[in-house]
Symmetry: C3
Subunit: 419 residues, 3 copies
């Protein structure tokens, strides 16, 4: 995953354009993505697919013709979606109205966008800004903003049933690693892994530009969203912070219970936060018309680490171990969803005699795996048709997998039937 991030890092992505396309081509080396192209001007609910933005070069030159600010060094230098400009001489005072810095982090370049307002600008370090002393500078942004397409990637894995699990990540940011190449990499490797498994649910992976991408996908697939039974938006999963799960708007959807269970049993610090209508594409998935059971899985939430949306969100900021742990949490969660059934105890009057079935140690008072034994008793006691295995895990405070293993053993002995 870290290698994939390294490969994608230098590309200048935006919500449309060739950077996004090139990134999808790299993902296609791992999973057989379907690439969609939606023409500029297409109405998508209250929005319109924007013009396509592409950029070749951009710079600010001083009086000696030296590139002081150079797009080729960092694609963050140009405000994303900047209009083209080419001026041999611009007074510093005029130029400064188009320059953005981070005074609190004088070495870092901020990341800025101007998607829906025609404008242009440069982002640079405060130190560089302080060094600008010439009266006039040459300013050039060799970009184009014209009718084209919005591009996104989709990968569908058919499972046993048509009910779907949606995994969505935004892939529109340029050279930012945690936000959201981490999410892109985890989604890619989850998809690759799942494609080789026997699956109950069908899975849909989306690699989309933030906001306009989910709006476009929802607009084109409005009739299909009822199939989505669970989902996760993946973003910012590579930093060192504790895992954070932001609940779906419903707050009590299965995915909310599953993620809480996973994090509670992770043995690590974690945070679970309530839904709020700000953040990533869960804003659209959880708009009141859809209200989908989709939460957002991240580590340190957006805006709560100073590297967020700056040049410091780079390859050093993302840790392979954090990626691995995030990936494991996703997999554990999906494993729970896949195996979370409701069973009916076939022997509901008193306990069945587990001892004679060798499901239970025979001599009272002897040692043995207390929790495995308790798991058997919990599954029998609560399998009255009202409790799923996850419900049983939650009430017993045992880990889902222990409950799942117990249920499989009881099922094998004919003591459970699936509802």
């Amino acid at each position: 995953m870290y290698q994939l991030i390294r490969e994608l890092y230098p590309i200048c992505r935006s919500i449309t354009g060739n950077g996004f396309r090139r990134s999808l081509q790299i993902l296609k080396l791992h999973i057989p993505l379907q690439v969609h192209e939606v023409p500029s001007g297409t109405p998508v609910f209250d929005w319109t697919v924007p013009k396509e933005w592409n950029i070749t070069d951009a710079y600010i030159k001083d009086k000696n013709g030296q590139r002081i600010v150079d797009f080729r060094q960092s694609n963050l230098h140009v405000v994303n979606y900047s209009m083209p400009i080419n001026k041999k001489r611009m007074r510093l005072s005029e130029l400064k109205e188009h320059l953005f810095t981070l005074p609190d982090h004088p070495d870092w370049i901020p990341y800025r966008t101007s998607y829906y307002k025609e404008s242009w600008g440069f982002c640079l370090s405060q130190n560089l800004l302080d060094d600008l002393t010439d009266d006039e500078y040459e300013v050039c942004i060799d970009a184009s903003l014209q009718d084209g397409h919005l591009t996104y990637g989709e990968y569908y894995i058919a499972g046993e049933i048509s009910d779907e699990i949606l995994i969505s990540c935004h892939a529109c940011h340029p050279s930012l690693c945690n936000d959201n190449l981490s999410g892109v990499a985890i989604a890619t490797f989850l998809a690759q892994y799942l494609s080789s498994q026997a699956l109950r649910y069908s899975y849909r992976f989306l690699f989309i530009p933030g906001t306009i991408g989910s709006i476009t996908w929802l607009s084109k697939n409005q009739g299909q969203t009822a199939k989505i039974k669970h989902g996760l938006v993946l973003s910012g999963l590579g930093d060192n912070g504790p895992c954070t799960y932001k609940k779906s708007r419903r707050g009590d959807a299965d995915i909310d219970k599953v993620m809480r269970h996973v994090l509670q049993h992770s043995g690590k610090r974690y945070n679970i936060i309530d839904f709020f209508p700000y953040g990533y594409d869960e804003r659209q998935y959880c708009s009141p018309g859809f209200n989908l059971p989709i939460g957002c899985f991240m580590r340190t939430p957006h805006g709560q680490y100073s590297e967020y949306h700056t040049s410091a969100d780079n390859l050093d900021f993302v840790k392979p171990e954090a990626l691995a742990e995030s990936w494991r949490c996703c997999l554990t969660a999906l494993n729970i969803i896949e195996n979370n059934r409701i069973y009916l105890n076939q022997n509901p009057y008193c306990e069945p005699q587990l001892g004679r079935r060798n499901l239970y140690r025979a001599i009272g008072g002897e040692g043995g795996d207390k929790n495995a034994e308790l798991a058997l008793l919990w599954v029998l006691n609560l399998s009255d048709g009202n409790n799923s295995l996850l419900d049983i895990a939650e009430r017993s405070t045992l880990e889902f997998e222990l409950i799942h293993v117990a249920a499989k053993a009881l099922y094998k002995h004919g003591l459970l039937k699936e509802v």
Copy 2:
């Protein structure tokens, strides 16, 4: 308000009689109160309107003819509703059975009543009692207890709809400032203020004797109580303690949510306590047959400050700033009730594009009032027909007014419709 309290303070009020009438006349200088007179003997539910009590003078004279205890100095000296007595010579031992003091506060005079048991008595300071050394005293209470009327004041302000908000305060205590001239003053000035406003709800203000007053009013208006959608009993609102809201019997009425919201966002310490069937007229409004959505707003609860029902509940004990803050809380609460509507997002599928409506800052990453922006998103996200603006404020933890302003802006742009 403090000036009004000062004016009302010297009058000897009781649950009936001329002191109560005179007090209502003073309130009529501020609001066009309707004064009701209910004859003694009128049955009101399980009770009967009592005889009318009036008092002219009362004293205890020593052997030198000196007034040792003098009603003209403090009307607390006479047990409220004392029977007339006139005895030239009474042995101290006999007299003492009719004397009440506060040994823990030897300077203070207690306030006592004997409404429903024919009796007489004097209240005095412990110090004064200790000085009584004569064998015999002259004792006189020049009072009358005879058929007459129970008097109360009512002021109705018609709003757009006939649904009512009831504001009730007891006005039957003699020279006690916090309990309850503070409530009387706040109710009066709320009524005066609201009478000049455009109102959705109709408002009813009651200035009544405690217990028997609310029983009488409820008895005469039993058929009308269904119109009362929210209400507050106001009492003890001038002391220095933190605001206290005692919930309605329902516990989850709108007024309970409103008052919690107001106090949570007041920036001050406060207490919210559950309903209990003791206290002020909420006891009657919240009796099981009525179970009205009426709570009680106070500062330090009755009985929890030592000045309560003593001569120390005087003009010094009530603070103008406390009165002002209590008044503001009431007004904020009424403002929420007036504006708490349920809207329906007209664009429920994904977010509407706020940027192109100038409802939203156009350039991503720029500063701006984060909370105002969040308020827009919360209103859109939760306006699914199930959530009132107050519900949205509560879930978002934003202040109601911010949510209200956002809803007005969205409504203006056609993005919301009222349910």
Copy 3:
């Protein structure tokens, strides 16, 4: 109760056999128990009534013919349900596979059973084991395991209504005092006490072998369990630890509320724990097919004190004061259940005038029993047909008995009617 425990202590009980029978005969001196005998081999749900086990003698002799381990000294020395064995010479190495000790408590003898696996063994102190140095020992268990009966005791007290309260205790352990002669003694004296009282509910007391006893009873009485409205499993009620109540599987049954109320108002430390499908016969009563409203009342839970299932659970370990307190808690709980009715306030509009009925102090401001007065007001306020007296006690935080006394007084004055 302590005397009864002392009498029962030496008997070698098991889940079947003459030790159990002899114990029931002793209980019959206190209460007219009905003794049931169920033949070995009888199918009871998923189980079968086991063969009957009886033991006469058992020992391990050294080369000098000395009894090193002697059943006559402690019946814990033999693994309960051991098969007979009689070997003049057994090598120590072979014998050791049948010896059980408690290395952490080298003086104590453990208690072990082998009900459902044919096997034999001895329990002894670690110190004794360490002293075994001979190469060979004589080993004898003079026991029989053959078709016979499972025995249990039942005592039914008919009350005014046929709805039942079930009190169940396991009586199958040999010389162990807290587990569960304490429960047996308390159940016996509760039964004796109640048999002389006028009762609303009918009561059923069960003295059964653990697990197989409750399964057998439930199997034979499956059609009658709907009559059981409340119940308690009594066990481990004589140790010094705080009272513990383990909730029924339902978690919100009346008995759960009652026991919480009793313990909250006991003035002592206590624990309330959620149901889990391990422990005593509540496992069977709360199996999903029955799901009876039965909790378990104990002091320190099984397995949480080191004396548990060892020779240290002896007459010293059980304290008369602890027994007495446990007994009082049971009685208070049963008293609440007996008296917990729902009343309807006959005067629901405003408060009735309690003063003129002498239900209430007449002079405002005077002393008096505040809580008794509050209890009257709470009962009136909440007796709207939805709240039982226990609900009222809980909401008011007053003790049930205070509420009950208030209700009786109001009922006497015609202010309440039973629903």
